[in-house]
Amino acid sequence: MIRTALAMSGLGGLVVAFFAVFGGMALVTGTGVIIESGLRSSITDQRLTGADVLVSAPQSHWEPESLPIGLPERAVVPAKLIDDLTALPGVATATGDVTFPTALLSAAPGTTRAGATGETSGTRAAGGAPDTTSAARTGRGTLETGEHGAKTVNGASDATLAAAASTSAAQTGEHGAKAVTGPSASAAPTAKVVGGTGHGWASVALVRGAKVIGSAPRAADEVAVSAAHAVRRGTDVEVVAAGKRAVYRVTAIVDTPGAPALWFADRTAAELAGRTGGPRAGTVDLIGLRAAPGTGPGALAEAVERRLGDDYVVSTGSAKGDAESPGTAAARSMLIALPTSIGGISLLIVGFVVGGGISLSITRQRRELALLRAAGATPRQVRGLVAVQGMTAALAALLPGAAAGYALAGWFGELLVHLGMLPERMPLSYSPLPAVAAALLLLGVVRVSAWATSLPASRMPAVSAVRESAAEPRTPSSVRYRSGLLLIGASLLLATPPLYIRGEIAVVGPGTAALVSVIGLALAGPRLVQGATGLLARRLPAHVPAPLWLAVSNTRGYALRTAGAIAALGMAVTLTTSISLSHTTVMRATDEETAEILKADAVVTAPAYGGIPDGLMDDVRRLPGVTAAVATSTTTILTSPFGDGGLQAQPAAVLGPDAGAVVDLGVTGGSLADLKGAAVAVDDRSGDVGDRRTLVLGDGAEVKARVVATYSRVLGLGPVVLSRDLVAGHTTTGLDSTVLVRGDAPLDRLTGHWPGLGIAADSDSPQAGRTSSQLWINVAVLGVLLGYVLVSVANRLVATTAARGPELTAIKRLGATPRQLTAMIRWEALLIALTASLAGLAMSAVPLVLLGIGFLGRPWPAGPLWLVPAAVAVVCVVVWLAFDLTARRLIRRA
């Protein structure tokens, strides 16, 4: 990069402007693609391809004057609407659809399904030597099964499991399917579990081109399976549907593209999905309409909208994907929210770099511009010329920049998918729009900065223009200096929230503070550099080597030139340290507090089952050594973190009255045992026991709840904990996600009956997961931004150094040896690198110290502190390369 810049430095500062615009274009276009995807992208593999129109409840929360917030939990539609819609002219059929998680347990090929008939003759060996196959699958599970039919009863542990299994039998028995009783022999050495979704049989009609082989499931113990599951018709399969485990007979194979799915008799599906009683009684997830012949989907949608009004979402075409999976809408609003948090920084940096590049290219032409003025050009003509030049460089950079931007967005999308923040089946949408918007924005920035930079040069009387231009060192403006100092002062105020706000939200302050102070530094920089180097020059012992003395004098004399580079490099240092370290600090604090909160020795999850299935809890409790087990889950609520009414989606933990056994939130009032009914526990700084709260839950429902406990440890589980009763009926799966286990128990035994369980020793809080993916996103964005800043600074340094040929020749003629010239350049590089590092560290120091005090109780942030020397080293290397490589040629030629 530096070599390229060097080779092209002959083209003048316009090269710097070109690269600045190129990078800026890439960043803004990339951000634009993310935002556009947030508005328009849709999932690629719809399930209900045969429906012309889908009717669903709104999956986003609208507040006046703000962006809609995506609601990740399914909001339901009353089933009685189906009849209304069927009666509507133009509707051929209206079908209610529900979705719930299912898991198909299967034995390895070649093993017989001994337990499938429901006899309690299964055999299971507990304990024993680790089985490598299943250990590999579950990560740590050890499992060994005896031969089929052999009874290897192994003491008390086996008896416990048998008892546990009969409990689940009692539960599943309700809806008539053959209950699996006893530890099933399906727990063959390679027992597998395949997750999928479950629906009512009627939904098959909404799948276009579904080939059905067999007959519809009618009885409660019948099921149709998608071809992807690869089971044969007529066989019995063991299924965990919406957490309920039972054996079903396969009556049909449905050949559809897409994810594995199971179809149950409609009534069974409604029961499993909890629509025959309880909070969601008489509802469906969505209603699929097929248009009567002669009616188009658009016309049908309009008719439905007229009939239903604004209360429901009527979707056609690719928008149907949103109705199918509410998570995608939430992922989309995340796509919009992401750039609003990091886009500010990017835009700031782009403005900074592009503005700097343009002003550099103009400053380099000051003399020519002055001569033009002397030759009779009006100020307006001079400004016009400058604008045309800047625009030319910018225009040339637009196309390649846009191409790089699309590539960047693609890479960022992959990262989001990798972090699990973006569904894989929801690709980013690419259109020319972001590039066009980015081009307009950048040309605007170029135009404004060209105008602002050329203003003084063009207005000056022609004579003094020539004179001034000869005298390159100019005096930095004092208005600029004072506003810079003001901003730096203001940033100190912004850095204080961690002292009085607890919670992740307090990080916003320090982040903003660092940004504001960086702008302040850029403004006040020239004067500060002048002052500091002036002081240094005066303090310098009389007989320092001439090169060092010259370097100090030059840095002071050309304060404007050096301050630009110092501010940009300082910005790189500040952003690196403040953004990374404030995140690691919060993460550390969250981890520490989570460790205090969760007294669990192990955590059991069941991702393959879509949540903790019924019976698993009891199996856990019955294991020897388990002193307590608490089920918990995480949902989303909309809260107003700043207390100003502006809502934000935030994860919140769901606990029951039994939570106290494993969770120690540092309760300061009330008791977690009262987490029954419509109850919440809250941060003790935000409320008192007995308060009434209105909350917006993850499906958009507004609920009223009583505060039954207050607590002090808010970092681990967040500022609000919800009771299980409160969220019942307001989550998509209705299942808990995690079992927190206390005690030293042989949890591995569970995987025999429940293959595919996740068993982990450490307990991560939901907040911690979120913080760490946020950290990775920030690291990625930061990396790109830093690359951009460093390359552009290197460009600037090369351009300014390359323009110093005459100066170096002059010094050489006055008696400087080549070695002295080289030394002078190196001293200057060192001076600039150190000043930039110091300034950058100073700008991030105050926010980080305050954050450390607020979150960790000590005046320094959490590591990795090697970031600090690393940032300084990178700055030094960049400056040194730019100076040394460029100057080496000049000195040889001088």
């Binding site: 060192p473 007989h543 001439a546 003629r813 008696g815 400087a816 040896t817």
Partner: protein, 245 residues
């Protein structure tokens, strides 16, 4: 032989073009020498070679008894610092540092302690004592050139070369600078070699060298302005101007 700088058979070529063609001469100590000649005749090339700012293509330049051609870049610089002061037409003051700092810059580079009384004397002689704290850009052209002369003298060089020191100055300023140079020779015994186009300026010198087409064509001791003007007009009329021989 009391020559500060001796050139023997010095030839300087720029590609095809011969800027200096076999020039041999010595600059005697304590004399004020003017170098004249038409534009492009090789005057600047001559004194740059003589001042070791540039190396001849062939021939030798001896300064202070040392053959410049045998030295590397660094040694040449050091030799120059010790023996030579140079005054450029474009002053060559560094804009970033004050006038005073400019005056002692060469000494600093040489690692020498400036001789304060000597510099003060020079500054007073050229009338810059009130301008020392200013930046070079805040001085007039004449003041800048006088500062440049003080800087050239600060290290007490054996000889000062000045390339059209008055070229950018008005008559009054030019006259002040010439008075200064002459007085340096008369009062301090300084050796000065000055390139000029102005016969009146050259008339202030002890000797005038006349260059044409890279050759030394004439040496006029104690020249008058009229002699010089006539001599130069004759040269300018030569039909072979710019040609080979």
């Amino acid at each position: 032989m009391n020559h500060v700088v001796t050139l023997t058979g010095v030839t300087k070529r720029y590609g095809e073009l011969t800027a200096l063609d076999d020039v041999s001469l010595g600059f005697p100590r304590g004399r004020f020498v003017a170098v004249m000649g038409p534009s492009g005749s090789g005057k600047s090339t001559l004194i740059q070679c003589a001042a070791a700012l540039d190396l001849p293509t062939s021939g030798s330049v001896v300064i202070g008894g040392v053959d410049v051609g045998t030295l590397n870049e660094t040694k040449r610089t050091i030799l120059r610092r010790e023996h030579i002061g140079f005054v450029f037409q474009s002053y060559n003051l560094l804009p970033a540092i004050s006038v005073e700092e400019n005056l002692t810059l060469s000494l600093r580079l040489a690692g020498k302690r400036p001789d304060r009384p000597w510099i003060t004397e020079l500054v007073e002689r050229v009338g810059l004592q009130d301008h020392l704290r200013r930046r070079p850009a805040e001085l007039s052209g004449g003041q800048q050139q006088r500062a440049a002369i003080v800087r050239a003298l600060a290290a007490r060089p054996d000889v000062i070369f000045a390339d059209e020191p008055t070229g950018a100055l008005d008559l009054r300023s030019a006259s002040q600078v010439l008075d200064l140079l002459r007085s340096l020779v008369d009062d301090l015994g300084q050796t000065v070699v000055m390139v000029t186009h102005d016969p009146a300026a050259a008339a202030r010198a002890h000797d005038a060298l006349v260059m044409a087409d890279g050759r030394l064509v004439d040496v006029l001791p104690e020249p008058t302005a009229d002699d010089l003007a006539a001599r130069l007009t004759g040269l300018a009329k030569r039909p072979a101007f710019g040609g080979a021989q």
